[in-house]
Symmetry: C2
Subunit: 417 residues, 2 copies
């Protein structure tokens, strides 16, 4: 079938399913989630077989070892996905929560109630676990979902979809609750980005290129996730031992993720006491250092930093370092190069901690802690669908509540205006 017609059909079916999902009781949704978790494990042979096809195809095409590792499934990874669904089942249901209720002078009673968004489009890349995670989170929050995974993982994704849909529908989910774009034709993404009649939101998850394509071409509202050029500023008078642990953790613990630090800013007055030891530790850990001229005095391994470096998310063991005059210069630097994801200050000053938290415009602003905590689980949401770097609708780590909208429920006794 022509994929545009297919998408239209899926959109219509998704809308129908969304009406039913919006009023499903929490118990029904949880039962489906648990059935889906069990089925994933019971049918893991089918999934692993499909995954082996993806892996073989990827190997033939000669993709990198890192990507291959992301793509590959095994019994333990399937168990993790199933466990993820069980955890989502155990979370409180966001739907129906009353966010406020008040009475107007004319006696009208107005309540603001949490409702699902409707139909969510998810566009993502290689990792097949996103298929299960996204399906689980969308279902729990009462939304229908239309998934579009990467072409590398198409066999795995389709196999998992079949298991999720069969087990979910057997447990009472309406047809269309979980759907997938089955073609790997890139044009299908373009068509999806124009499916305003059926999709209420599109959430892209993946590299900067994917996200840019979605933001630039979608007429459906988008929640932008992802890119993080995160800074840590070590203030004059900071506890330098603490600063070292935080700065090391923020860069080295997992450099490939968006909440990792890319730039270290150091107040001139502590540069000499802090940087030599800090940079030696980075160097020993294999971190490539790129610094302003002043930093080069403190370690022989420092390469000159370029203007482009300040704006780059390395996703790697590379760090830019700058010595700054004062907090204002640090704030200026952050305002200029930050992607408004996560920013940290290490300080002992009450006043500068307060200024930093107030003046830095970012989803998460830290005092004396690693930017690596920007994460739905670390924040205590029990789940994460991504980290929003936009200001509209959701900002920072997104859990179930961020997959919802609201409606006003107004109860009267014949009021007219």
């Amino acid at each position: 079938m022509d994929f545009k017609l297919e998408l239209e059909k899926q959109g219509r079916l998704g809308k129908q399913a969304a009406r039913r999902l919006a009023v499903m009781a929490s118990g029904e949704k949880n039962a489906a989630l648990l059935a889906m978790a069990d089925a994933l494990q019971a049918k893991q042979m089918v999934i692993l077989q499909a995954n082996a096809e993806d892996v073989a195809r990827a190997e033939q095409r000669g993709i990198s070892a890192a990507l291959l590792d992301r793509l590959r499934l095994n019994a333990s990874r399937i168990a993790d996905m199933a466990e993820g669904l069980r955890q989502v089942a155990s979370l409180p249901d966001p739907i129906g929560e009353v966010l406020g209720m008040w009475r107007r002078p004319n006696g009208l009673e107005i309540g603001k109630v949490r409702v699902p968004l409707g139909v969510i489009g998810m566009i993502y890349e290689a990792r097949p676990n996103v298929t299960v995670d996204a399906a689980g989170l969308c279902l729990k929050s009462g939304n229908a979902v239309l998934l579009r995974g990467g072409s590398e993982a198409i066999s795995s994704n389709l196999a998992m979809l079949r298991v999720l849909v069969e087990s979910g529908e057997a447990a009472g989910l309406p047809a269309g609750a979980i759907q997938m774009v089955t073609t790997t034709d890139r044009e299908a993404v373009q068509a999806m980005l124009r499916l305003n009649r059926y999709l209420d939101v599109i959430i892209p998850r993946g590299g900067a290129g994917l996200i840019r394509t979605v933001v630039e071409n979608s007429t459906v509202p988008v929640i932008e996730t992802g890119t993080g050029v995160c800074h840590t500023y070590v203030d004059d008078g900071a506890d330098l031992a603490m600063a070292e642990e935080i700065a090391f953790n923020a860069k080295v613990s997992r450099p490939s993720v968006c909440n990792a630090m890319e730039t270290l800013l150091v107040h001139r007055c502590v540069a000499k006491a802090f940087l030599p030891k800090m940079m030696e530790r980075y160097h020993a850990a294999g971190v490539e250092l790129r610094g302003c001229p002043e930093t080069q005095k403190y370690h022989q391994a420092v390469l000159p930093v370029t203007e482009a470096d300040w704006a780059t998310e390395y996703h790697d063991l590379i760090l830019s370092i700058r010595v700054v005059e004062d907090l204002d210069t640090a704030l200026e630097h952050i305002a200029r190069y930050s992607t408004k994801h996560s920013e940290a200050i290490v300080t002992r000053s009450y006043e500068r901690a307060r200024r930093f938290q107030r003046e830095v415009d970012a989803a998460a602003v830290y005092v004396n802690a690693s930017t690596r905590f920007s994460d739905g689980f670390e924040f205590g949401f029990g789940a994460e669908i991504g980290i929003s770097t936009q200001k509209l609708h959701a900002r920072g780590p997104m859990g179930l509540a961020e997959l919802t909208s609201t409606k006003y429920i107004v109860s009267g006794d014949g009021q007219i205006r």
Copy 2:
């Protein structure tokens, strides 16, 4: 100057202003609002002169009396605008509100705090009062604003802008807090819709055509406002006197606005008791009636309704009427044709009231009240920037809180992950 360069420059200046506005104390913002209100009245002659130019141009072009009325200013309308600014000054400041704060097992303290969106683009049509309203609401919520009014009102808008900017800056506003696109070139709107580097959100206010253009072409996130195909369903067993008042009010009190009813649905069992008198009252009030075949039995003035009617926002004294089998048919009709703005049921049944409020997907769902209450002032927000018909970020009447985002403030003692 080339308008694209001009827009870039305004965008940059707006971003700078936004950083300052984000940390301005409420008292400073309120002082500026009050100064702006006073200046509008003190300089009303300049504004009225500029408005006379707009009116003369419009008359030459032969625009409709209704549009001319929207365009025309006088001392009392200017006083209303000034009063609006004073009211906004008296509202609580949304910025800095702590929406939640919790401690994690590792001792991290996480707070969710309301912050401004940044720079807001407002694109609107003829009514010059939107210039003042939007400037006031954006300023109070700590946002910079880039205004783009209709070309008909350009002289009035520029005159008011000058008064607002001069008085605002004299009272401490940063340069760039309130700006306007000065060219009436339509290409400037297109350029504005692509100003992602500087604009955090665009809010269009106006007719369906304007809103469609913005939604389809903007890469900046949009809050869609406006179109309302609103229904009132009169249930079996409803208090018919109450139903009559509500249905009359919803259609007739102000047919040109988005919360006015466009379609009346009536349960078959009460059609005979309800419709003849109701339709006569509409007819006497000059309402053109378009109904399904069954309604035509009850009044000779009923014209046949078409499929297109069900989906039309008349903005006029025209009403579509349909007799339905039961609540399910009413819900189906609403799900199919509603723009998800405001929907009402008139009923005495607890169960059906509950079902209607739960199952209807709309920004505001009423039991026994007129849809005309969907309005920021009627809801008690003290202000209104528009009524959102999308599900992302804001839904229904938008007050100051809807012009804000949030950020997470994380305070630690050296936590690493």
